[in-house]
Subunit: 324 residues, 2 copies
């Protein structure tokens, strides 16, 4: 189970490091969802985590570990206009160290101001992926900053894995967990820790249409070699086509081969179900996992798989422009 650089021990150490600073997020249930699916669903509310997504777990673990081991770190840098950027900004503030977040100048003002709100310094760049990497690398070199990437990083993965420890303490009888996947940090961390606690638990990945994750899991080959691209989906938290160099082999080993590929309308309906029936605000990426939980595909699976965990990965959605 232990991977080079990240195993269950690292997850337990991560939990010790971060648990005083993060929320132990609630698990909620919905009898309507149970009725529709004929199973028992348990929704882990990482949408209610600090900064509105699970990303704080991994970012804070990485930041605090650097601080433990190096007394002279001048700060952190990453490139992300989304949840990881906010999380790293917040985590750096917790650690009392500066943070720089590289975002394309054309990113929405609301995202920029959220990152600034957590005390980070915004550095604007051009709109190509390569511009971000270049700007980030330059900052890293010039200011000797520690670069914390959004998913392909052992300490980030270990931090995300802390979800499993909490979740299986809250619901020990989970038979399976449904996890939305973008780069794979969340699902790798959850898989490593959950399988260590409960070896026969099943880990299912949820994606928008077109990611070809199932092919990747069956062949062990990262999907979409070549330049990183985005899927055309409303679920911006999981629009990345490629999984990581570290995360892909972990998932190939630990995740089920069947992937839940959700249509756009199903993702929106999943979001709406969470708002209307469960009274939680979730972003579209989390809507995808609700949709997977309510899908015919799950209904057709082994009926002995009764208790299903569903990760509501984030709640950062523009409530002025909901997709219905």
């Amino acid at each position: 189970m232990a991977k080079d650089g990240v195993g269950f021990n690292e997850v337990l150490k991560a939990l010790q490091r971060i648990s005083n600073f993060i929320h132990k997020t609630p698990v909620i249930t919905s009898s309507e969802a149970n009725l529709r699916t004929g199973r028992k669903l348990f929704f882990k509310c990482e949408n209610q985590q600090k900064t509105g997504s699970f990303k704080t777990r991994g970012a804070l673990n990485a930041v605090l570990k650097v601080k433990e081991t190096s007394s002279s770190c001048p700060g952190f840098v990453t490139h992300s206009s989304g949840n990881h950027g906010q999380a790293l900004a917040w985590a750096s503030r917790v650690a009392g160290l500066p943070c720089y977040v590289v975002v394309p100048s054309m990113a929405p003002e609301v995202k920029k101001s959220a990152i600034r709100g957590y005390g980070a310094q915004l550095v604007e760049c051009g709109h190509l992926p390569q511009d971000r990497y270049d700007t980030c690398e330059q900052l890293q070199r010039e200011k000797k900053l520690e670069f914390i990437p959004p998913y392909d990083h052992f300490d980030v993965i270990a931090g995300q894995g802390t979800i499993s420890v909490e979740f299986l303490e809250q619901v020990p009888d989970l038979d399976a967990i449904l996890i939305p996947i973008s780069g794979g940090g969340l699902s790798s961390g959850i898989a490593i820790a959950a399988k260590a606690i409960k070896p026969n638990i099943k880990i299912f990945l949820v994606t928008p249409k077109g990611k070809k994750m199932e092919e990747c899991l069956r062949t062990g080959k990262r999907p979409w070699d070549g330049p990183p691209q985005y899927l055309n989906t409303i679920a911006d938290g999981i629009r990345l086509q490629q999984t990581g160099y570290i995360t892909t082999p972990i998932l190939t080993e630990l995740a089920e081969k069947e992937v839940f590929e959700m249509e756009e309308q199903e993702i929106i309906d999943g979001m709406k179900f969470a708002f209307e029936r469960m009274k939680v605000v979730i972003e579209a990426a989390a809507g995808a996992s609700v949709a997977a939980a309510l899908s015919d595909k799950l209904r057709a699976m082994d009926p002995l798989m009764v208790n299903i965990g569903v990760i509501l990965c984030g709640g950062n959605v523009d409530i002025e422009h909901l997709p219905w």
Copy 2:
């Protein structure tokens, strides 16, 4: 502390009766809210209660108590197109007994279908308050139904009081609780149980503008004698001007005299804060209590009152037409 017909013992019995059927709702916190107020706020998520509001607690307690004491009850009736109607429909289904809910024929289809969805029979009537009472009474007489009113009923009040037992177990150090008030069933129940557990806890009521609740608490006289009327407010869960015959004396004795009277815009801003920062879907009545928690009025109060409970009373809001 014990009132004729409803004291702490009745609340404890209610909890025994209903706890297997309802959610023990989560308590969530928000560091942004704490930062803004300089206090520690704890939000009790009754919006995530069965049927989307606290009303299930009181309705189920009343229904189960009837079932315990009478083996021949042919069913229940109430008049409410709102949360109490849904709650009684749901509670009757739990008890395996028929339920009739009287609603004005012009009530929104979405509310009617929610009540039908819980298995109750809808009985339509005219649009005047008197029409509702007449239709309800007629049904009650003809079918020998048990009438369960929305708030002015000992067992309903005892059921709502179960919130305090849970809440003070989850957060034993609460110094005060902010509660939106309509007829006063929720606040009476919470006040009776909370003061029994922790005599020096302060109970604050939250209303829309124009209810004149403070005058009522200072004089002990029900506000707005005369025919029942509605306030002109977005917070439809708390638009009733009058508190009850049973609830008014309880609140006059147990609630603080200072009432939080919130403006419409503050109520909307409170709702929005809950959606955006706390990632929960709440209705406007709950938005009023969030607004009270964030208000200058609370900020100006005794700084030794540190831990403040806030009741998010319900989450039944039309997410297709949010007020922003």
